[in-house]
Amino acid sequence: MKALQRFTATAAVGLLALLGAGHQASAQIKVGAVLSVSGPASFLGDPEKKTLEIYVAEINAKGGVNGQKLQLVIYDDAGSADNARTFATRLVEEDKIVAMVGGSTTGATLAMIPVFEDAKIPFISLAGAIQIVEPVRKWVFKTPHTDKMACEKIFGDLKSRKLTTIALISGTDAFGKSMRDQCVAVAPKAGINIAVEESYGPRDSDMTPQLTNIRNKPGVQAVVNPGFGQGPAIVTRNYRQLGMTQPLYQSHGVASKQFIDLAGPAAEGVRLPAAALLIAEKLPSSDPQKSVVVNYSRTYQQKSGQAVSTFGGHAYDGLMILVEAMKRAKSADKAKVRDEIERTKGYVGTGGIVNMSPTDHMGLDLSAFRMLEIKGGDWTLVPGT
């Protein structure tokens, strides 16, 4: 009997909660975000969430957009594309958003695209794979650099150092796999020969067998590690543990100073392609991105207490591009805003300078990536890149 009473009480609370969730505010511009805040992709989603919250609050404090405040509706898909799809439907049907900035992972983004295309709502994705904007879909845009660009940047640097035979060691997660596929596709044209490939699970704790196989392969001049999260830090540590001396390249998935802290002295000499955001303070004052990245960097660090991450930067760019488009369109009408997003030209963001067009829904080119090297426990810009 007691069990029944307790159960009824719990159910009643639950029901009330569910009904209460339907309560909506009015006269605000609703922007939706489905992010992988928890789960295997929280490395991406957590800084994205913090960034969106910080900047929506800032924009609202300054009066909002076109005189209206922004209301941010964030859902956590916990890294599951299925959940993302459900939340996307919820945003469209229940919360009635006018625009979406989100989709931390490619899988979640691809799962959500049909929902937003059907509902004719502009969707700025925060995921990396090139399939999101190739083929171009009318309502879908993205802010992060593609993994194809990362490969091209790395290969370009390898060529300039006269290194043409490499090994790949990639994470089996979506980020690592997608970038690995792009690198394999781009290698022949770039004149790079991939001699051997290994992989590791994103939560593995020791990659020395794979690195040993790489070390034993004759002729390998450099090693490239597509991956994100903790894996690259462990790969880097293991690399030095085994005494390997060939140049090691990480990917843009490494994304923040925390990588250097985790990898420790092993990170010395590692190179990777990254947005200017990581070296904000070190940029020459003539650099067009300097003020934007320094501003974002300081705000994020101050308000969140954590080191800045390029993934958070992508969210910042997504939000700002949306807001600028709304201002130019002078309304929150979905079709008008979409048109204005497509007309984004010369937007200076954390990822680079964005120039979109009807055939390019990302707007970045290779110059948006800088080649960084880790020296003395900090990022430095490789000259001439």
Binding site: A3, R6, A17, L18, G79, R85, E93, G107, A111, Q131
Partner: protein, 308 residues
């Protein structure tokens, strides 16, 4: 009389949409039915036959990917791929079940866990077939020339299939096989002594539960329009087991209740923002402590006690 639960569910199914303000609710309903279908199958295995499976999402994954691979690589229509997937799951269950079902208790749990993980790993790695970790888009289901779109349509399709699944399960349970399974659950040795072919019965129910899960997985893929390897993942398997246990092991109706709770709860808990995972864990614990036989059996017992 024995089909009363199925009739009641069918009635609820038909009445419920009158309360739906938007397509979002149809989607939630369809998802509940899809998972309930898989859970009914798993309940037959866990609740009636008393065998634990921590890798059942593997069959979910086989069903889900069969409706992509069939159309994309073999040009088969989606509905045919669904059947092919179910058949494949059945065959795999039969082959894998024979050696594995000799294990008992926690050892069976680990073995099924391993199976589920193996399926997930293959799905992740064989990117040539499966699209790898980012998954593939699923071509939409076409029935009699009409493309099935929208949560409304799927609500009815999944609901109807669930009722059919219910009827099948209820019939199975009151058949000699069902009684044999209950005997096995109560005591395997006693059942053996009575002449029950324990190994064969366990294999039968394992295969049936795999087919249920496969159909559910196919529906999930067709409904979502996109499939990723974590449909077969470890967390999914745990979710299915939680639905069985929460709803009530051995209760067919409980399968629907368990599925409903674990699909609706994460949606309802979003109001807690940062705390949603903690709240989910707390609610699961509370349910299991106070309604330890599962929601439906505990409520039924309380109701019976109250009537006295």
């Amino acid at each position: 009389m024995r089909l009363l639960p199925a009739i009641a569910i069918a009635a609820i199914l038909v009445i419920l949409p009158y309360f739906f303000p938007s397509a979002y609710y149809y989607r939630i309903g369809a998802l509940v039915f899809i998972f309930a279908l898989a859970v009914v199958g798993l309940n037959l295995l866990m609740g009636f036959a008393g065998q634990v499976s921590l890798g059942h999402a593997g069959f979910l994954g086989i069903g889900a990917y069969s409706v992509v691979i069939g159309p994309v690589y073999f040009g088969l229509p989606s509905w045919l791929s669904l059947f092919a997937g179910a058949a494949l799951s059945g065959v795999i269950a039969f082959l894998v079940g024979r050696p594995i079902l000799r294990l008992k208790g926690h050892y069976l749990a680990v073995a099924t866990l391993g199976f589920g993980l193996l399926v997930a790993i293959v799905l992740t790695n064989e990117a040539g077939w499966t699209g790898g970790p980012d998954g593939l888009s699923v071509p939409r289901l076409t029935l009699f020339g009409w493309q099935v779109r929208g949560s409304n349509a799927w609500y009815w399709i999944t609901g109807a299939t669930l009722v059919a699944g219910f009827v099948l399960a209820l019939n199975l349970m009151s058949s000699p096989t069902g009684r044999a399974l209950q005997a096995i659950h109560d005591s395997e040795i006693a059942a053996l002594v009575l002449g029950v072919d324990v190994a064969r019965k366990k294999l039968t129910v394992f295969t049936i539960s795999a087919v249920y899960a496969s159909v559910a997985g196919s529906y999930l893929a067709l409904f979502n329009g996109h499939v990723t390897p974590d449909v077969a993942g470890f967390l999914r398997s745990i979710e299915l087991v939680a639905m069985v246990v929460l709803g009530g092991m051995g209760s067919i109706v409980g399968s629907l209740v368990g599925a409903a709770v674990l699909v609706v709860l994460p949606q309802a808990l979003t109001i807690f923002h940062e705390y949603e995972q903690a709240m989910l864990g707390l609610i699961v614990m509370v349910f299991m402590i106070f309604l330890r036989r599962g929601i439906v059996p505990s409520l039924a017992a309380a109701f019976a006690g109250w009537r006295k």
